[in-house]
Subunit: 295 residues, 2 copies
Amino acid sequence: MAEALFRRLAIIGIGLIGSSVARGAREYGGIAECLVICDADLDVLARAQALGLGDEYEADPARAVAGADCVMLCAPVGAYTALAAAIGPHLAAGAILTDVGSTKQSVLRDVGPLVPPTVSFVPGHPIAGTEFSGPDAGLADLFRGRWCLLTPPPGTDEAAVRRIRALWGILGAQTAVMDAPHHDRVCAIVSHLPHLIAFTICGTADDLADETRQEVLQFAASGFRDFTRIASSDPVMWRDIFLNNKEALLEMLARFSEDAQAMARAVRWGDAAYIEDKIVRSRKIRKSLIDLKQA
Amino acid sequence: MAEALFRRLAIIGIGLIGSSVARGAREYGGIAECLVICDADLDVLARAQALGLGDEYEADPARAVAGADCVMLCAPVGAYTALAAAIGPHLAAGAILTDVGSTKQSVLRDVGPLVPPTVSFVPGHPIAGTEFSGPDAGLADLFRGRWCLLTPPPGTDEAAVRRIRALWGILGAQTAVMDAPHHDRVCAIVSHLPHLIAFTICGTADDLADETRQEVLQFAASGFRDFTRIASSDPVMWRDIFLNNKEALLEMLARFSEDAQAMARAVRWGDAAYIEDKIVRSRKIRKSLIDLKQA
């Protein structure tokens, strides 16, 4: 087998994404000679060890990153500032620091200033997931055929970017490089707003009178079922995403709300042509998705 | 084999739901001795015949219902007034008229006055479907394990209600009887509003600048993909549902919009506890759904 991309890879946070990277690294090979698993939650860390996800296990992130030539943050983005402060002084010269967070301007803001000048910083965001959480939920093939978006700040060592692209390539993902503000706008509409809507409509249903609420569940049609699947994602992770992509999320919600009000007006006034046109357009988007093999 | 429930069942409209009933009737038996398929679209009717979905095929609904002891309307609810006017004078004395429309107050309003006094009227709504349409899309087991809600007007012959319940029972569905306004409110929140939202967010994405729109599709995350699956449903059917459940749909949209604005406010002001609480609540709803085996 060819030499691995990294000698020592430290994964900080071993939830759905971290444990999927760890499983993929073991299943496909060529990513790291030694995989260090770190999680501040000792129960989670013990579970990762019981599952045999890594080669070494470490609760203290400062110790986990010592001597690692690649460090991947896989914790909720709200924990990044504290994590970066803890690991910054212990990162090895020449190491690459990357992550999998869903908001990228916040990562540049929170982590960037704490990265030593000898370390290359290549933020990343694999667009993949399930509604499950924790080290048991990971899948070696979670990233196969999916995109991983990279947002290295200007001046980042290109060799470091290539190595992170190679890592995701081994895991089966395509990579694209873009700037962080653009990333955050795209993800606000394709991911963050759909989640906000799904969480909200579940609450709206929950607020109905007790008797009606029971029937909401009992007769839940396919539309609502799909929404609750989305809505069962991890609360802390999504809370942090919303708070760390505030501007783009609020803008996309404002656009959506305007459009929903326009649809409501068409329903109230019986504008059949307007309603049908909007539905036909959404079918076209669906067709484009299928053509792009993302559906 | 035991005698069939009906001697002659006429299915008016052979799309996803109609063709699923037809397939189920053939697969499970005991529903009708003779199945008459009717569709005003001659191409659709020819396709149903090529698929062998029925015993007789008839483009004219007045002729299709002649001599039938059960007639099931499976057309978009917007076509019901014209259909009821066409078939009313030709319904056989003692026949049962039923339907599968998603809005029930409108069905009582549009069809009720045109039903002869010798005919029993048992409106129904099977809560099942896929994102596909047309006679090829039907599935014999589409209704297995699902609910069919019945909204017979006061005074409806109970034997007629029992026979329609038996029909859905053969197709594998549970039935529940409720009044039409209550049905429309429950379906507004579990089905109609989720579809309105899905159609709308697809349009919101489509309105983004060309370059961004391409990336919306290319990087579509799981959240958005689920929305587009919902949004690919039949335009005419959904247009008619929105227009025929206006009051309940607008009320549920207003509730949802208030809740979405409250969430936006929490995001803007960094109210982490509020956001997390809402996400935790939606997970609980998800769990309830799983417990009720509807997920």
